[in-house]
């Protein structure tokens, strides 16, 4: 099995090598700018030929005609009011003139320009990157440095509740596509300098900004180092969504289980940060990644912590049972139906036999058909415009459910089995992807070997899970003894006043120093 995968991996590696070197290393962009304004303007014209979005504006001081400036900005990504009022007006009407031996750029930044963020730059590449990101560039005649001014103003979505992760209780904010906006949502939740935000630029062509956030005193430095190394080794032309990074830094890339978490909710990210985890923000996507991601996090929901622990413990157990059911139920049914009929209670046995007697297909084939049909319905539902939803559910329920049974294409018990499989699968949406594959695999094994196959398959799955790591942390975290202390947030959700410790991988494991807030 592994040999097979290695072989496939080898194929990919070879083809990747051929593409190497195709990435342009911009020779011209490494250059420094000139002190002549005209030269710089020609250079910009050359660089941005056919980029008609770039705007150029020459400005002269009203008091001193020799003071020439030229500003560049991209239309649509800047705040033009700020440019008018605080830049052009200020430059025009300034009464300051350059004195001998004085750093005129510094004078401009400190005494003329009325824009909060101003930076000096002399590299062409730096300037190009800044202007396309919404900054305004100010060239000054006779100076070898330009000034980068922050005038960014993007069109962004407003902060809304994410559709994928709705909650009944708790914060309803969700991330948007704006990186800085997303960071601000986190920043606001932790008013401490301990929350670190490190910037990286990934993607050789898209130059996407990526932020790595963590609580400095909580994060496990080894995990952080591990992650940074992996992030820095990414060599891809573009990153359009956080999932690109997920697949590129995944330690077990062939596993159907994801070892990197994702969320669209700032409160979830903050919770993870407080557990000593690391969040990865990517520009242009509302999805934020969190590592290390453990298996049990698939079953946790932010709501678990906002509602009564009695209730959420129950729903967490339901989710775990749901996952077990959704992968095993078809296999279990086929095993019992075709191999171990003794397992049925007699009355049930007879009524299932009655249903089966008039159906021509073997139950295993029936199961495959129904599972595929269910997935077709699910897939259609996920992508289709909302207005057609009614039609789909009617067609789905009638055709797949009733008509198939009445036409004796499938037996009624199989409809129940596939419905149970589908619905329990939706209990744990984060595990939907692996569940689809494992379910089919277990079904195949059950069809050939009955319970024996089912057990072998389930055992293989558990062995596989035990072999998974997320940023060096065991996916199942089974290195701990099974004690109440260690399962407080696993199968149950203990009350907050009992959860006095963080997960074991965090650097500082004490969450509450007082013994159970005086309740102990």
């Amino acid at each position: 099995m592994t040999g097979f995968w290695k072989g496939i991996r080898g194929l990919f590696k070879k083809s990747k090598k051929k593409q190497d070197g195709a990435v342009p290393k911009g020779g011209a962009e490494q250059k420094a700018i000139s002190s002549s304004l005209d030269k710089n303007m020609r250079m910009m014209e050359e660089l941005f030929r056919d980029v008609d979005i770039l705007r150029e504006r020459e400005v002269r001081n009203v008091h001193d005609r020799r003071l020439r400036y030229c500003i560049y900005y991209c239309d649509g990504v800047v705040n033009s009011v700020a440019i008018n009022e605080n830049l052009i007006k200020a430059l025009m009407h300034s009464e300051l003139t350059p004195a001998a031996g004085e750093d005129f750029v510094d004078t401009l930044i400190t005494r003329v320009v009325e824009i909060c963020e101003a930076k000096r730059a002399d590299k062409v590449q730096e300037i190009v990157e800044a202007v396309v990101y919404g900054n305004t560039i100010l060239f000054i005649d006779g100076q070898k440095e330009a000034v980068l001014l922050d005038t960014k103003a993007f069109q962004t979505r407003s902060v809304e509740e994410p559709d994928n992760e709705r909650v009944l209780l708790g914060p309803r904010e969700g991330f948007t596509e704006s990186l800085m906006g997303n960071l601000s949502l986190i920043r606001r939740r932790a008013l401490t300098a301990d929350l670190k935000m490190k910037q990286l630029t990934l993607g050789t062509r898209t130059r996407t900004k990526v932020f790595v956030c963590y609580m400095d005193s909580l994060v496990n430095k080894q995990v952080l180092e591990h992650l940074m190394k992996r992030l820095q080794s990414i060599d891809i032309d573009g990153i359009l969504d956080a999932h690109y990074i997920t697949e590129l830094i995944d330690e077990s890339p062939w596993s159907p289980f994801r070892t990197i978490g994702y969320t669209e909710r700032p409160d979830v990210v903050m919770g993870k940060l407080l557990e000593g985890r690391i969040a990865i923000f990517v520009d242009g996507t509302p999805v934020v990644l969190t590592v290390p991601y453990l298996f049990i996090e698939n079953f946790q929901s932010s709501e678990d912590y906002y509602m009564s622990f009695y209730y959420t413990t129950f729903s967490r157990l339901l989710r775990i049972i749901g996952f077990i059911l959704t992968i095993t139920v078809p296999g279990l049914y086929i095993s019992v139906e075709a191999f171990h009929q003794e397992m049925f209670p007699l009355q049930l046995f007879i009524s299932i036999a009655a249903e089966r007697s008039s159906v021509p297909l073997p139950a295993a084939l029936e199961a495959f058909i129904m599972l595929i049909l269910f997935d077709i319905l699910r897939e259609t539902g996920a992508r289709m415009p909302i207005t057609i939803g009614q039609t789909l559910s009617i067609v789905g329920a009638l055709v797949v459910g009733q008509a198939a049974v009445e036409a004796k294409l499938v037996a009624a018990p199989m409809v129940i089995i596939s419905a149970l499989t589908g619905i329990t699968g939706l209990l744990v949406p984060k595990l939907n992807a692996p569940a689809v594959h494992i379910r089919i695999l277990l079904l195949l094994l059950s069809t050939t070997f009955g319970f024996f196959g089912l057990l072998v398959g389930a055992t293989c799955m558990i062995i596989h899970l035990l072999n998974l790591y997320s940023c060096g942390v065991p996916y199942l975290m089974l290195n701990k003894k099974l004690r109440y202390q260690n399962v407080k947030d696993i199968f149950i959700r203990a009350p907050w006043w009992q959860m006095i410790r963080r997960p074991a991988f965090a650097a500082d494991s004490v969450r509450q120093s007082g013994r159970e807030n005086g309740r102990g």
Partner: protein, 381 residues
């Protein structure tokens, strides 16, 4: 590395052979056998097996859609008859859910029951928990041919009857094949199976359980009616419910009913002059269910008197039954012999060989203690 992987793969393939000799066999490819009846064909001396198999239809008007048909087959051995039955139906017979095995009275009287159980105990599919009973009708097949009024599949109906009657009314026994196998291989114990027969219910004949079939040396010797079956169950401590009637006055008719809530039997052996004496102590806790005698005032003394009368009546009845079995059938269905064996190995060794002849004269002391826990009397308002 490649070698290691090959070894792993081979090991995995070997694992698959552990799954044994089963194969995919869907529910629509089997004939479900609910019960079997064993007779002997008088003409050619071959065994005649009748299978009751479940026929199903999905039409909802048929109320569940399950009914049954009878399939006959003959063979020199049971197994041959089972295999030959396949020739008459399209799918193979499936015995995993077989509930009942009925022996004909005639066969049970003339032949050793052991060989009939052999097939069941050996076969991998047949359940050893299947109940065993003896037909009091002419043939065992007659029982399967009767009509079930509340359950169309006779075998399931009878299995439920035996199971429930032995608990609720204490009028029969539910002996599974593996129990029977155990009993016939226990020294100092004879087999008692459930007896079934058909009775008229309006036009139709329906099957009922009718007491106990008594075996001696693995052969049927006679039957005990349901009320005596209860006394038998008291002797072996298997009573879990049911009604006992007893007289409320000296020499009167049985006009009171005692509903048994709990019954325990302590069986012990005493040695007297080198002979065993069996002691049965029956403790009954019950409710007074009914007094059909007018004007009985239930005060504490009266309740005590009723307790004593019930105990006396039961003592008498149990004693009568033990005597009957001892003298009439001479079959140790109570397992007194094995009881002696359990309690005193030494004593058993000395009497082991004489036990058969000794059983009919062995002394059995019965002591019954009845506690009426609840008189269910309504207070005056």
């Amino acid at each position: 590395m490649a070698k290691r992987r090959l070894c792993l793969l081979l090991g995995f393939l070997l694992l698959l052979s552990l799954s044994g000799c089963w194969s995919y066999r869907g529910l629509n490819e089997i004939v479900i056998v609910a019960g079997m009846a064993l007779d002997k064909n008088g003409e050619n001396g071959r065994y005649k097996l009748s299978f009751e198999f479940v026929t199903t239809s999905t039409s909802s008007s048929d109320n569940g859609g399950a009914s049954s048909e009878i399939l006959e087959s003959e063979g020199d051995t049971l197994f041959e008859a089972v295999r030959m039955a396949k020739r008459k139906v399209k799918n193979r017979l499936y015995f995993g859910h077989t509930q009942l095995f009925i022996l004909s009275q005639e066969l049970a009287r003339t032949e050793d029951i052991g060989p009939f159980l052999d097939f069941v105990m050996r076969d991998n599919e047949v359940r050893e928990t299947m109940l065993l009973c003896v037909s009091q009708d002419d043939t065992a097949q007659d029982i399967l041919k009767a009509s079930g009024i509340d359950e169309k599949i006779l075998s399931i109906k009878l299995q439920k009857i035996l199971e429930n009657d032995s608990k609720l009314t204490a009028s029969t026994v539910d002996v599974a094949v593996y129990n029977a196998f155990d009993i016939i291989n226990t020294p100092g114990r004879d087999l008692a199976l459930a007896a079934v027969r058909t009775v008229k219910n309006g036009e139709e004949s329906i099957p009922v359980a009718n007491g106990i079939a008594v075996f001696k040396d693995r052969k049927l010797v006679g039957f005990l009616p349901p009320d005596e079956a209860r006394m038998f169950l008291f002797c072996v401590g298997k009573v879990e419910g049911g009604i006992c009637t007893f007289p409320s006055t000296d020499g009167g008719e049985n006009d009171c009913s005692l509903e048994i809530a709990e019954s325990q039997t302590k069986r012990s052996v005493e040695e007297r002059n080198g002979e065993p004496v069996i002691k049965l102590e029956v403790n009954i806790i019950g409710f007074l269910g009914e007094i059909m005698h007018p004007g009985v005032v239930l005060d504490l003394d009266k309740v005590k008197e009723l307790q004593r009368r019930a105990a006396d009546e039961l003592e008498r009845e149990i004693g009568k039954l033990v005597k009957k079995v001892q003298t009439l059938y001479k079959a140790d269905i109570f397992g007194f012999g094995s009881l002696v064996n359990q309690k005193s190995k030494r004593l058993w060794k000395t009497i082991q060989n004489r036990w058969d002849s000794m059983f009919e004269s062995v002394q059995v002391d019965v002591k019954v203690d009845v506690t009426i826990a609840n008189t269910a009397a309504l207070g005056k308002s």
